[in-house]
């Protein structure tokens, strides 16, 4: 579009004028400052994003907001740590898997003693630990899960019960559920069972598990818990609430070959836990089914979650 003549002319007159040089310098410096500032902020954002995930064994103090809100609200001052009388809470160091400077605890090291006056929540200046929490039994720091059924002594048929005994919400958060011991065929197993509606996640069960590596562990709730789709309804609950089936009587279909074993079971029960036909098993009307080598073990469970 242009030749050298026109290019040269403005360079000598306008481009090197003091105003133009100053403008160029200004634009350069603004660009450098803006670029540098944006780059640093971007770097910090990316790092914070990559380091935001809470590791499985780190638990937040009682009353902590849901993790995303907590990370917006917590100013990392450590006042909760200072007011924790049992040195349960720690502040995360840079490079630790827990977001820098935020409070957490490891149940296996020092569990939460569940102080009745909840000093950590009172100390929090920002409400990252929700001041609405006044009853420590309503705290939901995590959820205990008996994750290892192979090493838990009660599952091996012994009466350890330690996690059950130390639970501050005993008989509500952890119960012992009796179950037939199929190995000896003459004993009961008392299985420690955690109930999510009462477990505070204090971690005393994990702390006191007698095994070198605990069979019961406490995890942040989103990690330990599944969730039913919101539109799911439990038929038996709806039935109990409304005093009868909402969809009328069901046609009860005979299960051929197992008429004896399904006799007496209601339609809904049969629907919830359908009998898996074991082809090599003869139809026996006796209730305590002799344990077949690979038979369905949940059949005779007294499990009531």
């Amino acid at each position: 579009m242009d030749t050298g003549q026109k290019k040269n002319a403005p360079r000598s007159s306008v481009a090197n004028s003091p105003a133009s040089v100053a403008r160029r310098k200004f634009i350069n410096s603004v660009a450098a400052a803006a670029g540098g500032g944006c780059l640093l902020a971007l770097g910090a954002s990316l790092y914070s994003r990559s380091a935001s995930a809470l590791p499985a064994q780190a638990l937040r103090p009682p009353g902590a907001l849901p993790e995303a809100d907590f990370l917006a609200a917590c100013v990392r001052c450590g006042l909760c740590v200072r007011d924790c009388p049992y040195d349960t809470l720690k502040l995360s160091d840079l490079g630790a898997p827990v977001p820098t400077g935020t409070p957490y605890f490891h149940a296996r090291s020092v569990p939460c003693e569940m102080c009745e006056d909840i000093p950590c929540v009172k100390a929090c200046p920002t409400g990252a630990l929700d001041p609405a929490l006044t009853d420590i039994n309503q705290a939901r720091m995590g959820l205990a899960a008996l994750i290892d059924h192979e090493t838990c002594l009660n599952f091996l048929g012994l009466r350890c019960d330690v996690c059950y005994r130390v639970c501050p919400v005993i008989d509500k958060a952890i119960t012992l559920e009796t179950q037939h011991n199929p190995r000896s065929d003459r004993h009961a197993m008392l299985l420690p069972t955690v109930h999510s509606d009462a477990c505070t996640g204090c971690g005393k069960c994990e702390k006191s598990c007698v095994l070198p590596e605990p069979a019961i562990k406490v995890f942040p709730r989103p990690l330990a818990q599944g969730a039913l789709p919101e539109h799911y309804r439990k038929g038996w609950e709806e039935k109990a609430r409304h005093g009868g089936s909402l969809i009328g009587d069901q046609v009860e279909m005979p299960i051929r070959g197992f008429e004896g074993s399904t006799a007496g079971r209601s339609a809904t029960e049969a629907a919830v836990a359908p009998v898996t036909p074991a082809p090599d098993l003869p139809a026996t009307p006796a209730v305590p089914v002799a344990p077949a080598p690979k038979g369905p073990s949940g059949l005779n469970s007294h499990w009531k979650p």
């Binding site: 944006c38 902020a41 001052c77 006042l79 920002t126």
Partner: protein
């Protein structure tokens, strides 16, 4: 500190016979006072864990002094607000107290009298001067303001306190008070950066907290002035020692202003210029004191 480098220069300077020899206290007054202030603030937090005497709990991000005085870093609170979280009253009151104090007294008074990083970057600047290092390239001084703006934007977009993952100021203070090592690595990095790569690089060019306090201090009361500027013999000691040397010229050389007050809010009111000036040109005063001798 800087006296050793300056003494070598003093031999070149014409010696004025009437200049009285100043004592060590006179030559290091503000430096000593500032270090005492910084250490006392640290001790207020450390007396609890060390001796069981609790004066201040928490850290510079948010603290509770003697169980009655809440203090919260206003910049941190601002970041919390832009993420959408409305903090509990204690933090709001604490931030209001801090905000009011620095609005009145002087924004960057925080940097030179409170901030724990100040000692580190002062040591880096001293090392750089002593070793005569001229290498590196300083970033634009406005980078800090952009960083301040961008990290607020980033906090709003990500819904989390982005800067607190890496903020060297709170990292160092937290590390010192809670006995952690992580912050010391970042601080080591800043020291190396300031010594070899950029003179006064962190505090003077990058730190968004400094930028925030600088904005707070636009109308601050406590200011350094150069009332005795006609006695200046251009030894450049004040320029050499000043963490923000660009703020001196308008006051000392009456460039663009007639009064001798250093009104630029980048001035950290550290008083080092008062310390090093043999002619006693500078003094600490208030912003309405426009007298010059």
């Amino acid at each position: 500190m800087a006296a050793t480098t300056l003494s070598s220069r003093k031999t070149i300077r014409p010696v004025t016979p009437c200049a009285p020899e100043r004592s060590l206290w006179q030559r290091q007054r503000f430096l000593i006072l500032r270090r005492v202030s910084q250490i006392l603030i640290l001790l207020a937090f450390l007396s609890g864990p060390w001796f069981g005497v609790w004066i201040a709990k928490g850290n510079l991000s948010s603290s509770m002094t003697l169980g009655v005085l809440p203090l919260t870093d206003p910049l941190l609170l601002l970041q919390t607000l832009v993420t959408g979280h409305v903090p509990y009253a204690t933090a709001l009151i604490g931030a209001a107290i801090v905000l009011l104090f620095y609005l009145l007294v002087g924004g960057r008074v925080f940097c030179s009298w409170v901030c724990p990083v100040n000692g580190v970057t002062d040591a880096a600047a001293w090392t750089r001067r002593r070793l005569g290092i001229k290498t590196g390239r300083v970033p634009d001084a406005n980078t800090r303001y952009w960083l301040l703006g961008m990290l607020l934007v980033a906090s709003a977009l990500t819904g989390t306190l982005v800067w607190e993952w890496v903020n060297p100021v709170s990292l160092l203070h937290r590390s010192l008070i809670f006995g952690m090592s992580g912050g010391l690595f970042v601080i080591g990095g800043i020291f190396i950066y300031d010594v070899f790569m950029a003179s006064r690089g962190w505090c003077g060019h990058l730190c968004p907290m400094g930028a925030f306090y600088s904005l707070l201090g636009k109308k601050a009361l406590v200011r350094v002035s150069a009332p005795n500027r006609k006695a200046c013999d251009d030894c450049m000691d004040c320029f050499a020692v000043c963490p923000e040397p660009q703020v001196i010229r308008p006051a000392l050389k009456a460039v663009g202003q007639s009064h001798p007050l250093i009104l630029a809010s980048d001035c950290t009111t550290c008083g080092r210029c008062i310390d090093v000036c043999d002619k006693q040109v500078f003094k600490m005063t208030h912003r309405f004191d426009q007298r010059s001798e």
